[in-house]
Subunit: 569 residues, 2 copies
Amino acid sequence: MILPDWIRTYDKSLLSNDLIAGIIVAVVLVPQSMAYGLLAGLPPQVALYSSVLPLILYAAFGSSRTLAVGPVGLMSLMTGAALLELGITEPVAMIAAAHTLALLVGVILLAMRLARLGSIINFLSHPVISGFVSASAIIIALNQFKHLFALDIPRGLPAHEILYVLASQLGNSNITTAALGFGSLLVLWFFKSPLLHLLKSLHFGEKITQLISRSGPLAVVTIGILLASLFSLDTRFNVSVIGAIPEGLPSLLIPNIDTGLITQLLPKALLIALIGYLESVSIAKSMASQKRQKINSDQELVGLGAANIASAISGGYPVAGGFGRSMVNFTAGAESPLASLFTALLVAATLVLITPVFFFLPKAVLGAIIILAVLPLVDFTTFLHAWHYDRTDAAAMALTFFTVLIVDVEIGIITGVAISIALYLHRSSQPHIAIVGQLGNTEHYRNVDRHKVKTFDHILAIRVDENLYFANTNYLEDTLMRLVADNTAIRHVLFICSSISFIDTSALESLDNIHYRLEKAGIKFHLAEVKGPVMDRLNKTSFIKKVGVENIYLSTHQAMAALNRDEQK
Amino acid sequence: MILPDWIRTYDKSLLSNDLIAGIIVAVVLVPQSMAYGLLAGLPPQVALYSSVLPLILYAAFGSSRTLAVGPVGLMSLMTGAALLELGITEPVAMIAAAHTLALLVGVILLAMRLARLGSIINFLSHPVISGFVSASAIIIALNQFKHLFALDIPRGLPAHEILYVLASQLGNSNITTAALGFGSLLVLWFFKSPLLHLLKSLHFGEKITQLISRSGPLAVVTIGILLASLFSLDTRFNVSVIGAIPEGLPSLLIPNIDTGLITQLLPKALLIALIGYLESVSIAKSMASQKRQKINSDQELVGLGAANIASAISGGYPVAGGFGRSMVNFTAGAESPLASLFTALLVAATLVLITPVFFFLPKAVLGAIIILAVLPLVDFTTFLHAWHYDRTDAAAMALTFFTVLIVDVEIGIITGVAISIALYLHRSSQPHIAIVGQLGNTEHYRNVDRHKVKTFDHILAIRVDENLYFANTNYLEDTLMRLVADNTAIRHVLFICSSISFIDTSALESLDNIHYRLEKAGIKFHLAEVKGPVMDRLNKTSFIKKVGVENIYLSTHQAMAALNRDEQK
């Protein structure tokens, strides 16, 4: 095996940076991953197991130096919804199915690498992703209110139903739990913002400021555990706590690969794999570009695939690069994947040494941690930008957002992709067609509607600003024929191909048809500015023989000059 | 109601043309529609009922003057397959469901008109349509061999299974039936080709030649009925005949609109409606363009919608414009929809007067009529053209063809559409990006790979030959950054937008990112030849302020001159 760049060039002075970042991420990761486990309906140890081996595998195979892999909100939500939808609700069966799901996700990612399908995520437009992520964050946050109020709200409900159940059951909430939950929210918010500013204004060092301000989750977990155990909140005030977590490292296992289960899980795994990959690559790219490092999206498939398979065989569930945690890692100064190795070691140490401590950890505290972790993902500025720039993109974003919110996460993302592809196809099916004329005495020809240009009655010079393909040939044919029918003086049609870089078989047929119809009407058809690759193809067709090579011009100006000379003869 | 053009301008001298065309079409339509009824698994009267009222309604509302509406092969095949797939096999239930299907098809077409979705058929590429139609024609023809050999082959089998069953059961075939069937094929072929040439060489009139050569179906039907009744072929030689057809005109009825049935039929109806619409519009357009008439594809939705609803309430099943029959109508000299009215009256007269005559009509004769009617639809030249011009289009066509043939008609057309859209997206996601240079001392700039052009070390002038949208922004960003990284002399990037007619929100973000990354690397970003509508939009963004209006040039030449001046200072 060839050692990756970062190992060969590793500078020992970076070690302390990586160590500190690793510690900070571990401090965030331990409570956060237990919380995400709850979100998926899985016991906390499954989430903790997902935070050891996968991190090590990603560090070995991934291409990002700072991506923090582990349980993430979106995949936990989708995993929980998938199991629920398939009717897998019995705890042991759920855990087994979660392992299988992680295995499938891993295999799918590796298969995508082999099939070179990494570019598939390009078909998710930014507005759709943004709408999807915002709505998912809201759903995840809403799902936490059942822990904050100690209410019994089923998993997998859409946003409006969660709100309805919350409102109607609010009277049954447990006051102590709610006090713990909202108290935690307050403390977390204090660490995140006022404390950070305070430390900065007191001129504490950057590292220590980071370490302290990121310790909000650690603080609320500690306080929560202390309060719950000192006052026996679980037995005396009925506060839900995590309970017993098995001690020690996960034992390796072979996931259930029963074909029936795999067939059921496969479509879900496909979507979870795509979303996880998308989330990880976008985070990794945004961090890498700030440090002028490269992300290889093919290599990411390998890294994430290996991490998920590692999760499957070490008792975990699907993992990906988490947004919040990666940012913590990045801003805490992580320089290499070594930081993730330190994180993994610390989580392992937690599992070996201190799981009994978590017995008294109130679930409301975990709920508060998740809410503060996902809220930054709710992003309305992208919507505002899209609204000002392109209403249809904004509409696609809104549609995705509301579908995720009030119907379903999976249906939401599928709707978003379908709508953005449909919008693009719709746009390109009605291409911009400009009639052009000469700009002053220059060799430039521009749109008659936008510039003061000179035109000639007997020449219709049009430029189509789109590649010609099956979906826009009818529009082109209809528009051109209408223009010709409206103006009986026309004796030449000059078709300017400067914006055309491919013509498919349907469009070629259509051009042939246009040529035939113009010929019948006594009008000559000419081409100008045909691009090299397009001309190479056209040269093989009978269409070009019918048009005649003498009617194909390098530039519009040459064509116009020739057609005018022709006329004067 | 405003009278259509053709009524207001009708010239009485055209009446005889319409009358003769109407008669010829009726002669073809009566046996053909009974045959298509068999193909759908419906009794012959259902198909005959579909050939009266729908023709009148289409004549009133459609926009084509010569489209011959009625039962068609493809829709009959799809109707039969749909009923079979839904487990509707009991005759009375099948007929009722067929009425409901026609009603749904009609309502869907009218709804498409209201939603202005007529242009949806543009998304079927010509190669895909061609592959679909060819394969369907083969399936339809293969399905007739059970009638020709009197074998019991279930409906709805894919091509290879039909062939297998045919081959394995061939020993059980009825020799008399086979003789009748193949005899009919021979007679039909004789009428179609040798007789036509004979009549032409004997200088018969055009009209009479048409009338005689189109009477092949009438001739074989007459001979078949005579032979079967004279020699009691049905009882003595076990030859399958049509049997009793109820006499008289259809009575009007209200189709079953049970919600359960409608829910089941809806997806099928959607596909049948689209295919019927597509088939009708393409035939109508090809005829209209030969006579310089216009087809209004929105009006076609109304005409076909009304025709299908008429079919539903008069005991029929889904109808559309038939290829063969319309060509017969057109070449027989039909001048207006009056021809269709005559056809409808003749079919009505047939129903009132001579249905008992059809009792002895052998099914093998009908099978032979269909085979000769659909074989001209099998078209391999389109495939050869596509193969020479564009291999991917040819591959899409072949995939559609074989999916229809060996899997299923519906899955075939869906595969075809999906694959052509995917191919287009794939193409546009990897746009052609050219580095350009100056052509001699002209103001023209061309691809450095294709022309001998002058370039400058400190300027990278690139032209992207595609609109910028979510699926190609990553490719653009990666390519541009690679070009810049490869050449450290570059101090200016000139981005030539002559081929770009829209930039979506994702691409705008990407351009912003490119600008930011170039700036960090000390490289200036310039734009040239930005089109009017694109500039209008960009002017609203912060991106354009960052680039600076002074860095946006009308032409590439102006930009290059300015950047060179800048350099010399």
